[in-house]
Every structure is written in structure tokens, then in C-alpha cells.
Amino acid sequence: MADPDWEDTRATGVAERLAAEALIVDVEGFEGPLDLLLTLSRTQKVDLRRISVLQLAEQYLVFVDRAKALRIELAADYLVMAAWLAYLKSRLLLPPEPGEDGPSAEDLAAHLAFQLERLQAMREAAARLMARDQKGRDFFARGLPEDVTRIRKVVWTASLLDLMQAYARIRTRDDFRPFVMDRHDVFTMEQALDRMRGLIGYAGDWTDLVSYLPEGWELDPRRRRSATAAHFAASLELAKRGQIELRQTETFAPIQIRRKPDA
């Protein structure tokens, strides 16, 4: 969209500059650079599809320069747009460099024109939308809506199976007695603690924990398991109290204990 007759537009440049100056006063009123560009484009008095992007870029740059001269703070996006338009302008004016990559200056200009046209179209669409008949202004809903009465009805159900299970549950409740464990094969931690507290003084150096197991508890696996657990727990308790030291050379190696020297 390089404009061939952009030279002509220079003649009218003064008028546009004046228009742009008038706009500067109102810079707060613009909703961003695209909005400003759209406003500037109106001075071209042509269909947006035939707009001279080069001329528009020029107008915008003039606008930004004037704003700077008047020490008007422009938001960063206005300056970004100015830089981009300056670049676009130079690309439009200079012949393309051979072997140059990327989009052509014409493509970029066409896209900018598209953006403006689209923004303009959306503005018009918004205006047409707001011009429609609106509810509560031009047409109305029933002023006295009759609410639907909601009647919630709960139906409770149970099956015969539920009933029988419930009865069975009540009648058999008495059958259950608290579970009492057979303590014959259980060695408690308290027992182990008592034993170890008495024995620990006699062991001089590091001794395997297993050697503390009481007689008659090392052979039967169930008894051995219970006694080992009890003694292990008791040894932890003693260690916590600072009465013994514990060690294990490696994983699964025998656990050894000894009385703490100063205890």
C-alpha cells in the first residue's frame, strides 16, 4: 500500500498538521494508538480500504513530535507505535533490499489498514447494537411474573432387605464380645523394659539385642517375634531416656546395645 501520490499529500500537510495539533490537546481522549490512527485517517476523507498508510504514518509521527514538543507525556504504546510507523515509513519509501527476508512493507501497511478497518467496523457494529430496541427501554418483560411454586416432595424408601439386615444387625449385636487377645504368646514392652533395666547393668560392652530375649521365647517363631518387638521398643525407650546406646553396623545387621558410660 505504498502510496504513489504521497507527494501530493505534502501540499495539504499544513492543514493536517493543524488538525493534528488540535488533537494533541485531546490526547487523553484517545483509547490507544490504533484509535488515534483511526481518527487521523478520517482527515484523508477516503474509504479506509484506500487509505494511504504512508500518509497516515507521517501524520502520526507529526502528532507524536508535537506532543513531545509540548512536553505531553505519551504512554509507551504510543511511542512503540511511532517507532514502528517510522520503520514502516522508511520501508515504504526505500526500494526493497535484494534477498530481504520477512514480510514486505506493502504487507505490513495492508495489515495496518486492515486493523483500522476492523476497528472501525467494530465501532459501527457496537453503535448498531446499542441502537437496537433494548429490554427495559423499548420493550418489556412481564412486570408481575408469577413464580413457579416449587413443591419438593421427599419419598423415603427402604427395601425388605434393608429391613431384615437392620433387624439382624440389632439382634446379633449381643453376639459380639469385646475381642480379648490371647496373651499367652505376647511379651509386652513393659515386661521387656523391666527385664532390660535389670540386666543392662551387667552387660559391659556392646551386646546383641537378641541375647536379652528371655528363655523360652527364642524358639517358637510367634513368641520370638513378640519378644523381639517388645525388646526393641523397650531399647528405644531406654535410649530415649539416655540410659543406653544403640547401634547397628548396617541394614539388617544385629542391633547392639550397651549401657551409657555415664548413666
Partner: protein, 214 residues
């Protein structure tokens, strides 16, 4: 005469148009609208009373009617269609454990007092639970016990039997049958304890038959 002159001067809208206006105003307004208000809102020279006559006739027998409410006029749903303005939602919920247990005790031990239910369940029976079962019409009051305090008893009802597909409460399976059906979940007790005690079972059956014989 002067009235006619005024009318022609201001060229009131045709009556059909006035009818539309009244229709729209009555529809959109939250309260009934009086003729005076209609007149104030409509263009000069309108005769809302006349328009109302036409409008009322138009809505005769329709789904909504134009009715007089106090001094004003309003649209109202035709009385025969009122049921369309109700939305019934039916929710099916399982009876609570307390309710089903209470119901089971009444069914197996009827007539049964509240104290008896509490004794069997081992916990207090809330008023709400009994009320719920009464309301469902699954239980009703039986004869009062001829014991001190003359407590009320509860028995199960015909709808109860219907619901559970029973001919009589006597058809409820006894404990033996429940066990045979696998409903008595006899978890093996540690050390072989907790085997079903035959005596209790036997007692149960007699207990039940005693209760049902009247």
C-alpha cells in the same frame, strides 16, 4: 358534543390500537393498573375503559385472563391452569439407619412401645424418627399397654406390608432364615468364639411368635 370535537381534534388512535396499548401496559406493569392510570399513560383522547372491554373479551377462555384486582386491572393465569405453575420435584431418599432399625423392631415385635424399641436398640429413639414413620404411614398407633403409664404401642400398617410385599408381619423371616440367607454376617470370632448360640436363636423364634399371637 364538545367531547366529540376534542376527540377528533386530537385524533385518538383507533380502538384496536388502544387495545394493544392497554395490553402492553397491563403486561409490563408490576401492579394492577387503574383506568385513570391507563388514561394518564395513553395518548390524549384514548378511552381505556372501552379498550379494556375489547381486551377482556379477547382473553376470555385464554391461558391468561384480564381480571379486576381492587380498583385496577391485571393479567392473571386462568384458574384452571394454576397447576402448571407448580413444579413438583420428587426426591427419593433412603431411610436413615435409625428409622429402618426402629421400623424393623416394630415389625418384628409389634405391638411395641417406645421403651421397648429403645431397649432393643440400646439407644434412645428420637421423636422425629417415630414421626417420620407415622407420616409415611408405615407405622400407626396400636392399643395402649395395660401397664403402669399405659404407654402407646406401635404396629405396622397395610401400606407397610404393601411396600415390602408382605401379606402379614408374620411373614417376616426369622433369625434362622436370615442367617440361612446369609444376612446374619457371622464373622468367625477369634479362637472359635462367637459361634451362633443355638439357645438364643430358639428363644428368638418363640419370643417372636409370642408377640404376634394376640
Amino acid at each position: 358534543m364538545s367531547d366529540d370535537a376534542e376527540r377528533s381534534l386530537f385524533a385518538a388512535p383507533p380502538i384496536a390500537e388502544q387495545e394493544r396499548m392497554v395490553e402492553a401496559i397491563l403486561f409490563a406493569t408490576a401492579e394492577p393498573v387503574t383506568v385513570a392510570e391507563l388514561e394518564a399513560r395513553m395518548p390524549h383522547g384514548c378511552d381505556p375503559a372501552e379498550a379494556l372491554v375489547y381486551l377482556r373479551r379477547r382473553y376470555e377462555g385464554r391461558g391468561v385472563n384480564v381480571v379486576k384486582v381492587g380498583d385496577g386491572w391485571a393479567f392473571r393465569t386462568a384458574p384452571d391452569l394454576g397447576y402448571l405453575m407448580q413444579k413438583e420435584t420428587v426426591e427419593t431418599r433412603k431411610l436413615s439407619r435409625a428409622a429402618i432399625e426402629t421400623l424393623a423392631i416394630i415389625a418384628y415385635h409389634q405391638p411395641c412401645t417406645r421403651a421397648e424399641i429403645e431397649e432393643i436398640r440400646g439407644v434412645a429413639v428420637s421423636r422425629g424418627t417415630i414421626d417420620q414413620l407415622l407420616e409415611m404411614e408405615w407405622i400407626r398407633f396400636g392399643r395402649r399397654r395395660m401397664t403402669p403409664g399405659r404407654p402407646v404401642t406401635f404396629v405396622v400398617t397395610e401400606p407397610f406390608l404393601d411396600h415390602f410385599g408382605l401379606e402379614s408381619a408374620r411373614d417376616l423371616p426369622g433369625l434362622k432364615e436370615l442367617r440361612a440367607a446369609g444376612l446374619l454376617d457371622n464373622r468367625p470370632m477369634p479362637g472359635g468364639m462367637g459361634a451362633p448360640r443355638d439357645e438364643e436363636e430358639a428363644e428368638d423364634v418363640t419370643g417372636q411368635s409370642e408377640l404376634f399371637e394376640d
